[in-house]
């Protein structure tokens, strides 16, 4: 029977010295001999595109140097701020919904489902949405929301809830909701799995002691379980935020960024500038801006993540 648990890092201890000085240094040399070529290749391959992006960002399309002109154009383009706003709105809808729903289900299953078989089944079912390709999820969403053929309107009409088609993808607010709902569908199970695993690390004794002391459902959560889940919330926020910055596939399929630019998130905007309007200089400037801001953000937050690094 499998049991999913969260494994948080133990305080780091020094490696015990396992062998004599000479053997150790020979092994260490071997380590570098294997590691450095592989690592070096990857570092070079990662770095080249970044340098190239910087070079392209200070050139015009015909190769002349233009200094920071591309940056000025990229950052004064209102489309960029629309994209930032859309990305922010998307995050504000999607993150709380996924966390509240995922946490709700994790607590519910943790408290009420005791059968290991049923828990294992729920685990497998929760993994399913995570492995469905986002493109396929986009297709499913299209079948549900599309005008004329979307099944959601058909169902709502048959139930007598609506009498007129709702234009899920062409009214701005509804389009954003439709696009966000797809993200929530796909990623709430991830939040559920992580938090459910976190709940399994809460020691039974402290819960039982609290219950003897008359802790209610709510106080048990706030004073005991929340404490164990805190690092996992951070992990979820960080990973999901990174994913939102790369969201592309399902929106591209469902609305293509429309109506207008309502659902044109940052990655769709960059794609448009570079590969639809062929503004290479501006696209590269944007790429550099995004890469640098993410690296900064990353260095600020990464040390807080509860990962086993040793």
């Amino acid at each position: 029977m499998s049991r999913l648990v969260a494994e948080l890092p133990a305080p780091t201890t020094q490696n015990p010295v396992r062998a004599g000085r000479r053997r150790r240094s020979r092994q260490e040399r071997l380590a570098y001999k294997i590691l450095l070529p592989a690592l070096g290749t990857v570092v070079v391959i990662v770095t080249i595109p970044f340098i190239l992006a910087v070079v392209q960002s200070i050139q015009a399309d015909d190769g002349t140097w233009v200094g920071l002109q591309n940056y000025a154009r990229a950052l004064s383009n209102p489309g960029f701020y629309d994209a930032l706003r859309a990305t922010g709105l998307y995050a504000v809808i999607v993150l709380p919904a996924e966390i509240v729903l995922g946490l709700g289900f994790a607590l519910l299953v943790h408290r009420t489902v005791q059968s290991p078989g049923l828990r294992a089944t729920l685990y497998i079912l929760a993994v399913v949405p995570l492995v469905v390709p986002p493109v396929a999820v986009g297709v499913v969403a299209r079948l549900i929301y599309a005008p004329g053929y979307g099944v959601l309107n058909v169902i709502l009409e048959r139930l007598g809830i609506i009498h007129q088609e709702i234009e899920w993808l062409s009214v701005p607010a509804l389009a954003m909701f439709s696009v966000a709902s797809v993200d929530i569908w796909q990623w709430t199970p991830f939040v559920y799995l992580v938090l459910f695993a976190g709940l399994q690390t809460v020691p039974k004794e402290s819960v039982e002691a609290a219950q003897v002391d008359g802790a209610t459902w709510w106080t048990q959560f706030v004073y005991i379980e929340l404490h164990y889940l805190r690092p996992l919330f951070l992990l979820i926020l960080f990973f999901r935020a990174a994913d939102i910055l790369r969201v592309f596939d399902h929106i591209f399929i469902l609305t293509g960024g429309g109506p207008g630019t309502t659902t044109q998130l940052l990655s769709l905007y960059l794609y448009r500038v570079e590969f639809r309007f062929f503004q290479t200089g501006q696209g590269s400037a944007l790429a550099v801006v995004v890469l640098v801001s993410i690296s900064l953000l990353y260095t600020l937050v990464t040390r807080l993540l509860p990962l086993e690094r040793t």
Partner: protein, 278 residues
Amino acid sequence: MAIGARLALAVIGLAAAAIVYAFPLYWLIVTSLKSKAELFASTIHLLPHNPTFEPYVSVLIDRGFWVLLKNSVIVCASTVVITIALGLLITYPITRLPVPVGLRVGVLNWALSLRFLPPVAVVIPYFAIVRTLQIYDQPIALIGIYSLFNLPFAIWMLKGFLAEIPLELEDAALVDGANRWTAFRRVLLPLAAPGLLAAATIVFTFAWSEFLFALILTATPNAQTFPVGVQGLVTQFEIIWNDMAASGVIAMTIPLILMVVARKYMVAGLTFGVIRDK
């Protein structure tokens, strides 16, 4: 909350989730089994109605999507081989050999930072490189970038698996006169095999689902992968719903089958080992 109320809440919650998750997938499959004639019928049947495999034949044979499937398999399999090989070259020294703790932590942190690279920002300069090397619209362009983007997962997963195998086992083989390579092949590799398989499966799944790079770096069935084909069916002027649904079903079948193999490691992979299966 009383036990009864809690149970009722659980039943209602899980039933609602079941509908929200099962119905869209059900509807995808039902639509993929519709005949052309039924698409234009005035009433939409919610239950299967004269199901037919016509759309699958239409997608794979008539539209020639089997070529895209083949491309996907080639790209994903090559990505898996390169990613796992590179991953082993990087994780073997830092987990099995005495390197300074700082180096190990540095490598892992660096790998983690790659996880947060936004693909669209990377693909802009990568596109220029691909044009210069004249590998535009060739599988190798995808294999390269997929290997890079999957490497962080591979490094963190392999690190987890290798660290769990006691160093003493290899040391024993070394004392018996085996060299490092033999000890690696005969002792470590068999023990790490389940973990390697899991990592390989997950990398394959990720590569299979990838869409943005494939959209930008390919143009013809010479290198286009299956998701690009699916997208082509969606944004046409007139959507052929049953074909589109069938292509969606095909796209998700392979990851779902692979998930059966790697289900225990899926969450560990996605969370860089924070969530483990005990």
